[in-house]
Amino acid sequence: MKVMVISADHAVAYAAKLARTEVVPSFPITPQTLIVEQLAEFINDGELDADFIPADSEHSVMSMAVGASAGGVRVFTATSSQGLALMHEMLYAVPQSRLPIVMANVNRSLGAASGIWVEYNDSMAERDSGWLQVYVEDNQEALDATLMAFRLAEDRRVLLPVMVCLDGFILSHTVERVDLPEQEEVDRFLPKFVPYNMLDPSDPKLMNPIVPPEYAMEMRYQLDRAVEHSREVIAEVDELFAREFGRSYGGLIDTYRLEDAEYAMLTLGTATGLARQVVDELRSEGKKAGLIKLRFMRPFPFKELCAACRDLKALGVFDRSASFNGGGPVYTEVAAALCNVPTTVTGHVAGIGGRDITPEHMREMYDIVEKASRGEKVRPVTWHGLRGDME
């Protein structure tokens, strides 16, 4: 193991290298560019034996990724925001074709009100594409989740693409300590890629024909079940990873000081780290506050959330994107998941367009949830750090 001080973008690039990625189609976009630049350097320096394909757009990137993966090699790429949006059409070809492509999406707001800063409205818009989505909290998790993504995607029970989502700038351009695994360890954890559905001239097959109504529905249900069954594999991969590298992330969700908690926040991405600190403060004040960290948005942890919230009086749900007039996407999904659990659920939108989320914002969220836990009437959805009174 080697200790490094690197950004999450570089951590992800190291993960793709350690995974012995074979093809990297790419198109640069801030704040993702550091990932593909670093991979280009690895390839140039002979440290990674892969084909680097500069494409003319992200649409082509994903098309190339589909072709390469169907050709039987391990494919990695990275994108962000408008780039992900431009891939939208091609993204949908991947899960149904059952191609285990791994892609990092460095979360960045999707314009107008354009910016280069973090917001989750890019990846949240793709949550019905069939891609598995994991959101990470820090640079170490960015590296570890990418390694786990390959293992998960390529598992014969899964065979689905995985999108590793990390906060633009807050992770992508922040350096912190990252423990870099040894190549032999990674090779043990991640065996050589053996393709399942593969295009091979000596054994001709037709991939992606037009599918009439007689078959499409069964194929969609098959995909629905594949995403559902990936839950077990996520748990297994987490255990395997812990055995090899000594770090565990809890699978679909993780919890922090939740055992005897009366109220809690549910967060994803870097807000989780902030929430951990605020929970510690609240606990030291004698308050029974806890935290749920949402790791996977797909598969969505319906059962895990119901179990985790069983004894909670109220749960606040953090969103770094809005679903306009209905709170954020995580809030609506969590509320649906908990519809048979007596926990009160509130929505909390913050950090939009990359606005910094301060300890005060997080504290404010916890205060509202605490009130809700006492049965007080609170807003269903609150925007934190907003200038002017909410309507």
């Binding site: 149904q96 074709s97 059952r98 191609l99 065979l159 399942y196 559905n197 001709p204 097959k205 037709l206 991939m207 992606n208 024909p209 037009i210 599918v211 009439p212 109504p213 007689e214 078959y215 529905m217 069964e218 194929m219 249900y221 098959q222 079940r225 594949a226």
Partner: protein
Amino acid sequence: MYEVRFHGRGGQGAVMAAQALAEAAVIEGRHAQAFPYFGAERRGAPVMAFARIDDRKISIKSQVYEPDLLVVLDESLLDIEPVARGLKKDGKAVINTRKLPTEIDLGVEVECATVPATSIAMEFLKAPIVNTAILGAVVRMCDLVSMESMQQAIANRFGEKFGETAAKANAAAAAAAHAQAAIGRCKGRRPLAQKKEWLPAWNEIPIGTTLDERIVDGVTVGPGGARQNLTGSWRVQTPRYDKEKCVRCQRCWFSCPEGCIKREEDEYVRWDLNYCKGCGICAQVCPVKAIDMIKGGSR
């Protein structure tokens, strides 16, 4: 509500027929709808269209499974498709054939009109587009709409699209069919034709969207099942190649939409008639008329 199902082959005008029938009913102040089976239609492939007529607004948009009236634009379909599936016991049928109703075995014994719509169409329209002719027989078979409304509907539909002369010719074809239709009862002896269908449960479909040739049924009839589904069987005319005339320009090879013309080593061409749908494009593009289209789907 009165429900109609049309069976034809791509290019015969089943959809137009359904639409004209619906329009005729609307002309008479009733409610009606018409729609095709939403498939990837290709010239010569079996197709379906549906129509509904009622005195009040029709809300249902599903396909027609138990028709009151069956309209068959191509007699050969009776041998390959379960055309009469679901036809009501007291339903009716209109069939394009030279035979009399008593000579037809539909698989269900019902009141039936037969009409030589193809020869009527050839006479009036100079093309085997049988939809308007068959509508004349439909009017004769059931008192669904008057001949006047039907001819008005035909004039509206065809006039708008193809001009007044075409509208007139089509209306005349309908009138001739109305006069020539033979009414009687068809036979219901034979079992309905069995269509080969591969309808696997979700967990029986191979993972992903790739069909392996080992999935025998799927490759035959499943998505993209062209390997054994010889689309050449839809052909009603066949290219004939005169090698003597051929100047090896490769235009036919380049233009065939089905990719079924092969280049030989010597640059002469060869046909894979298993997939030739008989569109005639090759004959059209050949600069020296080395290809002509002969009637029938023979090889």
